[in-house]
Symmetry: C2
Protein backbone atom coordinates (compact mmCIF):
# COMPACT_ATOMS: atom_id res chain seq x y z
CA UNK A 1 0.00 0.00 0.00
CA UNK A 2 1.17 3.53 -0.73
CA UNK A 3 1.34 6.05 2.11
CA UNK A 4 -1.77 7.72 0.69
CA UNK A 5 -3.64 4.39 0.67
CA UNK A 6 -2.62 3.75 4.29
CA UNK A 7 -3.81 7.23 5.22
CA UNK A 8 -7.22 6.71 3.59
CA UNK A 9 -7.65 3.34 5.30
CA UNK A 10 -6.63 4.76 8.68
CA UNK A 11 -8.90 7.81 8.46
CA UNK A 12 -11.81 5.68 7.21
CA UNK A 13 -11.42 3.25 10.11
CA UNK A 14 -11.44 6.12 12.62
CA UNK A 15 -14.21 8.11 10.92
CA UNK A 16 -11.95 11.15 10.55
CA UNK A 17 -11.66 13.68 7.70
CA UNK A 18 -8.74 15.70 6.37
CA UNK A 19 -8.01 18.82 4.34
CA UNK A 20 -5.00 20.51 2.73
CA UNK A 21 -3.54 23.98 2.25
CA UNK A 22 -0.81 23.82 -0.36
CA UNK A 23 1.55 26.39 -1.67
CA UNK A 24 4.77 24.98 -3.21
CA UNK A 25 3.20 21.62 -4.09
CA UNK A 26 0.28 23.32 -5.86
CA UNK A 27 -2.25 20.56 -5.29
CA UNK A 28 0.07 17.54 -5.27
CA UNK A 29 -0.99 16.39 -1.79
CA UNK A 30 -4.67 16.49 -2.68
CA UNK A 31 -3.94 14.76 -5.97
CA UNK A 32 -2.02 11.97 -4.21
CA UNK A 33 -4.78 11.39 -1.63
CA UNK A 34 -7.56 11.44 -4.22
CA UNK A 35 -5.66 8.99 -6.43
CA UNK A 36 -6.94 6.44 -3.89
CA UNK A 37 -10.40 5.06 -4.73
CA UNK A 38 -12.74 5.72 -1.82
CA UNK A 39 -10.84 8.80 -0.66
CA UNK A 40 -14.00 10.90 -0.88
CA UNK A 41 -15.07 9.38 2.45
CA UNK A 42 -12.14 11.05 4.24
CA UNK A 43 -10.80 13.89 2.08
CA UNK A 44 -13.06 16.94 2.11
CA UNK A 45 -10.92 19.25 -0.01
CA UNK A 46 -8.23 21.86 0.11
CA UNK A 47 -7.01 25.28 -0.85
CA UNK A 48 -4.13 25.82 -3.24
CA UNK A 49 -2.85 29.11 -1.88
CA UNK A 50 -0.10 29.80 -4.36
CA UNK A 51 -0.33 33.60 -4.03
CA UNK A 52 -0.21 35.58 -0.80
CA UNK A 53 -3.62 37.04 -1.63
CA UNK A 54 -5.16 33.57 -1.47
CA UNK A 55 -3.32 32.78 1.77
CA UNK A 56 -4.79 35.92 3.31
CA UNK A 57 -8.22 36.14 1.71
CA UNK A 58 -9.23 32.47 1.60
CA UNK A 59 -7.24 30.96 4.49
CA UNK A 60 -7.21 33.99 6.77
CA UNK A 61 -3.43 34.23 7.14
CA UNK A 62 -2.48 37.60 8.63
CA UNK A 63 -1.24 40.06 5.97
CA UNK A 64 0.94 41.64 8.62
CA UNK A 65 2.53 38.27 9.32
CA UNK A 66 3.12 37.65 5.59
CA UNK A 67 4.83 41.03 5.29
CA UNK A 68 6.86 40.58 8.46
CA UNK A 69 8.13 36.99 8.29
CA UNK A 70 7.34 35.98 4.70
CA UNK A 71 5.16 33.26 3.24
CA UNK A 72 7.77 30.55 3.82
CA UNK A 73 7.74 30.46 7.61
CA UNK A 74 6.44 28.37 10.45
CA UNK A 75 3.99 31.03 11.55
CA UNK A 76 2.39 31.19 8.10
CA UNK A 77 2.34 27.38 7.77
CA UNK A 78 0.50 27.20 11.10
CA UNK A 79 -2.09 29.77 10.08
CA UNK A 80 -2.56 28.06 6.69
CA UNK A 81 -3.29 24.72 8.37
CA UNK A 82 -5.67 26.28 10.88
CA UNK A 83 -7.39 28.20 8.09
CA UNK A 84 -7.82 25.13 5.88
CA UNK A 85 -9.20 23.11 8.78
CA UNK A 86 -11.78 25.83 9.49
CA UNK A 87 -12.69 26.75 5.88
CA UNK A 88 -12.85 23.18 4.58
CA UNK A 89 -14.34 21.75 7.75
CA UNK A 90 -12.16 18.74 8.53
CA UNK A 91 -10.74 17.03 11.60
CA UNK A 92 -7.11 17.39 10.48
CA UNK A 93 -5.49 19.80 8.03
CA UNK A 94 -1.95 19.82 6.73
CA UNK A 95 -0.25 22.80 5.09
CA UNK A 96 2.95 23.33 3.11
CA UNK A 97 4.76 26.49 2.11
CA UNK A 98 8.23 26.33 0.66
CA UNK A 99 10.72 27.12 -2.06
CA UNK A 100 10.69 24.43 -4.74
CA UNK A 101 13.23 26.21 -6.92
CA UNK A 102 15.12 26.64 -9.10
CA UNK A 103 14.69 30.35 -8.30
CA UNK A 104 13.61 32.12 -5.11
CA UNK A 105 16.19 30.77 -2.69
CA UNK A 106 18.39 32.79 -0.32
CA UNK A 107 20.99 32.07 2.36
CA UNK A 108 18.33 32.24 5.06
CA UNK A 109 15.63 30.44 3.02
CA UNK A 110 17.35 28.05 0.60
CA UNK A 111 15.76 26.17 -2.29
CA UNK A 112 14.28 23.00 -0.80
CA UNK A 113 13.09 24.67 2.41
CA UNK A 114 9.52 23.67 3.23
CA UNK A 115 7.53 24.60 6.33
CA UNK A 116 4.67 22.27 7.25
CA UNK A 117 1.72 22.88 9.53
CA UNK A 118 -0.72 20.40 11.06
CA UNK A 119 -3.93 21.55 12.68
CA UNK A 120 -6.40 19.55 14.74
CA UNK A 121 -9.10 20.74 17.14
CA UNK A 122 -6.60 20.58 19.98
CA UNK A 123 -3.39 22.01 18.55
CA UNK A 124 -1.38 23.48 15.70
CA UNK A 125 2.11 22.13 15.11
CA UNK A 126 4.74 23.27 12.60
CA UNK A 127 7.85 21.64 11.24
CA UNK A 128 10.77 22.81 9.08
CA UNK A 129 12.44 20.57 6.52
CA UNK A 130 15.05 21.16 3.83
CA UNK A 131 14.81 18.71 0.92
CA UNK A 132 17.51 18.20 -1.68
CA UNK A 133 17.23 17.79 -5.44
CA UNK A 134 15.52 19.65 -8.24
CA UNK A 135 12.05 21.22 -8.27
CA UNK A 136 10.31 17.90 -8.96
CA UNK A 137 12.27 16.09 -6.23
CA UNK A 138 11.57 18.77 -3.62
CA UNK A 139 7.86 18.79 -4.45
CA UNK A 140 7.62 15.01 -4.42
CA UNK A 141 9.39 14.72 -1.06
CA UNK A 142 7.15 17.45 0.37
CA UNK A 143 3.99 15.65 -0.77
CA UNK A 144 5.15 12.41 0.84
CA UNK A 145 6.02 14.13 4.12
CA UNK A 146 2.67 15.94 4.24
CA UNK A 147 0.87 12.63 3.94
CA UNK A 148 3.02 11.18 6.72
CA UNK A 149 2.14 14.16 8.92
CA UNK A 150 -1.60 13.63 8.33
CA UNK A 151 -1.14 9.98 9.18
CA UNK A 152 0.75 10.74 12.40
CA UNK A 153 -1.89 13.28 13.39
CA UNK A 154 -4.60 10.66 12.81
CA UNK A 155 -2.72 8.28 15.12
CA UNK A 156 -2.96 10.89 17.85
CA UNK A 157 -6.70 11.39 17.58
CA UNK A 158 -9.48 9.23 18.93
CA UNK A 159 -11.75 7.78 16.29
CA UNK A 160 -15.29 9.00 15.80
CA UNK A 161 -16.44 5.69 14.36
CA UNK B 1 7.24 21.99 -24.13
CA UNK B 2 4.45 20.36 -22.15
CA UNK B 3 0.94 21.79 -22.36
CA UNK B 4 1.41 23.25 -18.88
CA UNK B 5 4.65 24.95 -19.92
CA UNK B 6 2.95 26.40 -23.00
CA UNK B 7 0.12 27.68 -20.81
CA UNK B 8 2.51 29.40 -18.39
CA UNK B 9 4.45 31.02 -21.26
CA UNK B 10 1.23 32.18 -22.93
CA UNK B 11 -0.31 33.63 -19.75
CA UNK B 12 2.99 35.31 -18.82
CA UNK B 13 3.29 36.93 -22.25
CA UNK B 14 -0.27 38.29 -21.94
CA UNK B 15 -0.04 39.31 -18.30
CA UNK B 16 -2.99 37.08 -17.39
CA UNK B 17 -3.60 34.94 -14.30
CA UNK B 18 -5.49 31.70 -13.77
CA UNK B 19 -7.15 29.64 -11.02
CA UNK B 20 -8.64 26.19 -10.58
CA UNK B 21 -11.63 24.50 -8.94
CA UNK B 22 -11.05 20.76 -8.88
CA UNK B 23 -13.19 17.91 -7.74
CA UNK B 24 -12.37 14.55 -9.37
CA UNK B 25 -8.73 15.47 -10.08
CA UNK B 26 -8.18 16.56 -6.47
CA UNK B 27 -5.44 19.10 -7.19
CA UNK B 28 -3.87 17.50 -10.25
CA UNK B 29 -4.41 20.52 -12.49
CA UNK B 30 -2.79 22.87 -9.98
CA UNK B 31 0.03 20.41 -9.46
CA UNK B 32 0.68 20.17 -13.22
CA UNK B 33 0.73 23.94 -13.69
CA UNK B 34 2.96 24.55 -10.67
CA UNK B 35 5.39 21.88 -11.84
CA UNK B 36 6.52 24.60 -14.25
CA UNK B 37 9.19 26.91 -12.81
CA UNK B 38 7.95 30.49 -12.91
CA UNK B 39 4.28 29.50 -12.71
CA UNK B 40 3.81 31.72 -9.64
CA UNK B 41 3.62 34.70 -12.01
CA UNK B 42 0.42 33.37 -13.58
CA UNK B 43 -1.16 30.78 -11.25
CA UNK B 44 -2.82 32.38 -8.23
CA UNK B 45 -4.26 29.24 -6.66
CA UNK B 46 -7.27 27.02 -6.52
CA UNK B 47 -9.88 25.25 -4.47
CA UNK B 48 -10.03 21.47 -4.22
CA UNK B 49 -13.75 21.08 -3.67
CA UNK B 50 -13.93 17.35 -3.19
CA UNK B 51 -17.02 17.48 -0.96
CA UNK B 52 -20.30 19.23 -1.74
CA UNK B 53 -19.87 21.30 1.43
CA UNK B 54 -16.71 22.84 0.00
CA UNK B 55 -18.37 23.43 -3.37
CA UNK B 56 -21.16 25.32 -1.61
CA UNK B 57 -19.35 27.01 1.27
CA UNK B 58 -16.07 28.00 -0.40
CA UNK B 59 -17.04 28.31 -4.08
CA UNK B 60 -20.61 29.48 -3.60
CA UNK B 61 -22.26 26.71 -5.62
CA UNK B 62 -26.00 26.65 -4.94
CA UNK B 63 -26.98 23.89 -2.50
CA UNK B 64 -30.33 23.68 -4.24
CA UNK B 65 -28.57 23.08 -7.56
CA UNK B 66 -26.36 20.39 -6.00
CA UNK B 67 -29.44 18.64 -4.64
CA UNK B 68 -31.39 19.00 -7.87
CA UNK B 69 -28.90 18.14 -10.62
CA UNK B 70 -25.99 16.63 -8.68
CA UNK B 71 -22.35 17.63 -8.34
CA UNK B 72 -21.39 16.11 -11.70
CA UNK B 73 -23.28 18.47 -14.00
CA UNK B 74 -22.65 21.37 -16.31
CA UNK B 75 -24.50 23.80 -14.07
CA UNK B 76 -22.31 22.94 -11.07
CA UNK B 77 -19.13 23.03 -13.19
CA UNK B 78 -20.07 26.52 -14.34
CA UNK B 79 -20.73 27.77 -10.81
CA UNK B 80 -17.47 26.17 -9.60
CA UNK B 81 -15.45 28.01 -12.26
CA UNK B 82 -17.19 31.31 -11.58
CA UNK B 83 -16.68 30.83 -7.84
CA UNK B 84 -12.99 30.03 -8.18
CA UNK B 85 -12.41 33.03 -10.43
CA UNK B 86 -14.06 35.30 -7.84
CA UNK B 87 -12.62 33.75 -4.67
CA UNK B 88 -9.08 33.31 -5.99
CA UNK B 89 -9.10 36.55 -7.98
CA UNK B 90 -7.86 35.50 -11.42
CA UNK B 91 -8.57 36.38 -15.04
CA UNK B 92 -9.49 32.81 -16.03
CA UNK B 93 -10.66 29.86 -13.93
CA UNK B 94 -11.19 26.28 -14.97
CA UNK B 95 -13.27 23.73 -13.06
CA UNK B 96 -13.71 19.96 -13.18
CA UNK B 97 -16.30 17.72 -11.60
CA UNK B 98 -16.58 14.09 -12.62
CA UNK B 99 -16.64 10.43 -11.82
CA UNK B 100 -13.11 8.99 -11.84
CA UNK B 101 -14.23 5.53 -10.77
CA UNK B 102 -14.06 2.70 -10.18
CA UNK B 103 -17.27 3.27 -8.17
CA UNK B 104 -19.94 5.94 -8.43
CA UNK B 105 -21.02 5.48 -12.02
CA UNK B 106 -24.56 5.06 -13.35
CA UNK B 107 -26.23 4.72 -16.74
CA UNK B 108 -26.87 8.45 -16.86
CA UNK B 109 -23.52 9.44 -15.35
CA UNK B 110 -20.96 6.76 -16.26
CA UNK B 111 -17.46 6.38 -14.87
CA UNK B 112 -15.23 8.66 -16.93
CA UNK B 113 -17.81 11.45 -17.22
CA UNK B 114 -16.27 14.84 -16.46
CA UNK B 115 -17.92 18.24 -16.71
CA UNK B 116 -15.62 21.21 -17.21
CA UNK B 117 -16.30 24.90 -16.68
CA UNK B 118 -14.31 27.92 -17.84
CA UNK B 119 -14.97 31.37 -16.44
CA UNK B 120 -13.64 34.71 -17.62
CA UNK B 121 -14.92 38.22 -16.93
CA UNK B 122 -17.10 38.02 -20.03
CA UNK B 123 -18.56 34.53 -19.94
CA UNK B 124 -18.92 31.09 -18.41
CA UNK B 125 -18.71 28.06 -20.68
CA UNK B 126 -19.18 24.38 -19.84
CA UNK B 127 -18.22 21.19 -21.62
CA UNK B 128 -19.01 17.50 -21.15
CA UNK B 129 -16.48 14.76 -21.84
CA UNK B 130 -16.42 11.02 -21.21
CA UNK B 131 -12.93 9.60 -20.85
CA UNK B 132 -12.07 5.91 -21.03
CA UNK B 133 -9.72 3.85 -18.89
CA UNK B 134 -9.16 3.36 -15.17
CA UNK B 135 -9.22 5.99 -12.40
CA UNK B 136 -5.67 7.14 -13.12
CA UNK B 137 -6.32 7.39 -16.88
CA UNK B 138 -9.54 9.36 -16.42
CA UNK B 139 -7.88 11.78 -14.00
CA UNK B 140 -4.83 12.24 -16.21
CA UNK B 141 -6.94 12.93 -19.32
CA UNK B 142 -9.09 15.36 -17.34
CA UNK B 143 -6.03 17.29 -16.11
CA UNK B 144 -4.68 17.58 -19.67
CA UNK B 145 -8.02 18.78 -21.02
CA UNK B 146 -8.41 21.38 -18.27
CA UNK B 147 -5.03 22.83 -19.17
CA UNK B 148 -6.04 22.95 -22.83
CA UNK B 149 -9.25 24.78 -21.87
CA UNK B 150 -7.28 27.40 -19.91
CA UNK B 151 -4.98 27.80 -22.89
CA UNK B 152 -7.88 28.24 -25.32
CA UNK B 153 -9.51 30.77 -22.98
CA UNK B 154 -6.25 32.73 -22.84
CA UNK B 155 -6.19 32.81 -26.65
CA UNK B 156 -9.57 34.49 -26.58
CA UNK B 157 -8.58 37.26 -24.13
CA UNK B 158 -6.64 40.40 -24.85
CA UNK B 159 -3.37 40.68 -22.99
CA UNK B 160 -2.86 43.07 -20.11
CA UNK B 161 0.88 43.32 -20.65
Amino acid sequence: MSNAEELVVKLSAKGLTCATAESCTGGGVGSAITAVAGSSAVFKGGVISYSNDVKAYVLGVSRDLLARVGAVSGEVAGQMAAGARRVIGADIAVSLTGIAGPGGGSAEKPVGLVWFGVATAARIATERRVFTGDRAAVRSAAVAHAIDLLSAAADGLEGKG
